[in-house]
Symmetry: C2
Subunit: 298 residues, 2 copies
């Protein structure tokens, strides 16, 4: 491991630690979650997640403000809740029908389908409750809620999931493929970057740069994910591998081939790095993240 790699890993672990700490605080604080839902919500949230989206929130806040602040921590917890809800619903039998996620049983396998549906609903709602109640300034809270709902809602992630399901076993061109995966995955990465920037008081120019970074990294991440699904084992992934092909999903390797997919992911990482230019050396961690996400093994 190089020195830069070591430093990056240290930074990443410290941020994941911060995210997990906020999430645990919310889970322990009385008033947020009634007793019926405590167990499944905790099971879903306190798993071995990679916490990439909330880490982007924190790093983008640092870039704008010089350090992480409470707004960014709350925004990080909120986006992780929304991401977790989307996984729970995505894994349901009527959707992707997956038994494993993050190396453990999926929510509907551990509990039952009704519990999984309601736990997802609970996490999505709780994310907005957190932002409305735990962000100090109303103007910031409203902007964060607008970003998160726009990224996750019917013009963003949910639309992407719907399009993804509809495209299964159909002939899909590259333009449609990009649209599906931009909505399904990249929009939430852009949302993470924007939420961090807003939390850190970024100006419009910085905000737009970070949005651009998030979108490119997000799409690159999705391509890497598609590639992993055909090349890695279930053990490595913590979820069933080879599922995309089995379900006839419109993935990058399926539509444009493995080599061209890898090239596109590299191009997106380069563009993400380029968007960070005005930030100078301060953005090195985000640059490293962009290339790291393409080389991941899980």
């Amino acid at each position: 491991m190089t020195l830069a790699e070591k430093e990056f890993k240290k930074q990443l672990e410290s941020k994941v630690g911060l995210v997990n700490k906020v999430i645990k605080r919310i889970l322990l604080e009385p008033g947020w979650i009634e007793r019926e839902l405590k167990k499944p919500v905790r099971y879903a949230l306190v798993g071995p997640g990679k916490r990439i989206r909330p880490t982007i929130v924190l790093w983008c806040c640092e870039l704008a403000a010089g350090s992480t602040n409470n707004n960014a921590l709350i925004a990080a917890a909120a986006i992780e809740m929304v991401h977790t809800y989307s996984l729970i619903h995505d894994d349901l039998p009527a959707m992707d029908d997956d038994d494993y996620r993050r190396g453990r049983l999926t929510c509907h396998k551990k509990f039952d389908e009704a519990t999984a549906i309601l736990t997802g609903d609970a996490l999505l709602t709780l994310a907005f409750e957190l932002l409305a109640k735990q962000i100090s300034e109303s103007t910031i809270a409203v902007r964060l809620i607008a970003e998160l709902s726009e990224g996750a809602g019917p013009a963003g992630m949910v639309a992407g999931q719907m399009a993804d399901l509809q495209a299964a076993n159909k002939k899909v061109n590259e333009k449609s493929l990009n649209r599906i995966h931009t909505n399904k995955t990249a929009r939430m990465f852009r949302c993470a970057a924007a939420m961090g920037a807003i939390s850190g008081g970024a100006d419009d120019k910085q905000l737009n740069r970070l949005r651009e970074y998030g979108l490119k990294v997000g799409l690159g991440f999705q391509i890497a994910d598609d590639i992993l699904d055909v090349s890695a084992s279930s053990e490595q992934l913590g979820k069933t591998s080879g599922k995309d092909a089995q379900q006839g999903k419109a993935t990058y390797p399926a539509v444009m081939g493995l080599e061209k997919s890898k090239k596109l992911a590299e191009k997106l990482a380069d563009e993400a790095v380029a968007a960070l230019k005005p930030f100078g050396a301060k953005a090195d961690t985000l640059r490293y993240l962009a290339t790291m996400l393409l080389q991941r093994r899980k």
Copy 2:
């Protein structure tokens, strides 16, 4: 029909008309909903719903401000979206497994289960997006989002739905029954009243009175609903009747008998009316609503 009844019906129809108009505007405006979701979201929202929750929002705003305003209209659309999402998920095969709702096929019957899950998710997220983007003052927007997420989330409606499922075919005492139905239904009625009061700039005293009214009316409404399920036909209800008993649900008639249930509903309506005392004659429509909801046939 008495004169008071006629006047009430006229008022109600005019409010339902306003709610439907905002909802239609949102459905037509570009940007909110990507094309994949347009059809199911429209199917779910533009049904023959009773629109009771959004009507309460508008009436409570009128009571506080003298007239309906834009904030209340947006709040009304938002709470109707959350209510509609909860029905779609509630009707899923893994939940209450219902084929009919509001006199038409349920969303998963009209489309499929995956579409129904995602349409519910879309509506829930869109409700918060609306509040974040269409309310003029940030402080009001944040308060409305806090109310709605608290009422609908893991300490409110979702917890109630979870408890309701867990209580099926079990011995439930009156205390647990009240807790389940307060969370499942009454909290959202309280939320509707609070959102209207906040939209209309009510002071804390008025807000608390209206909250109290909403909670009592909501619980009374749920009891009436339980009674209808055993006494009305599927045709009258627009959904399958007798389902509660069939599924061993913890309902008021099942736990405390039909007569005692009717008495309790009347008591709640009286208490709801009593909470409105300081508002004088201006609150007559809300008073009428409290008693009307107990006499409904669907």
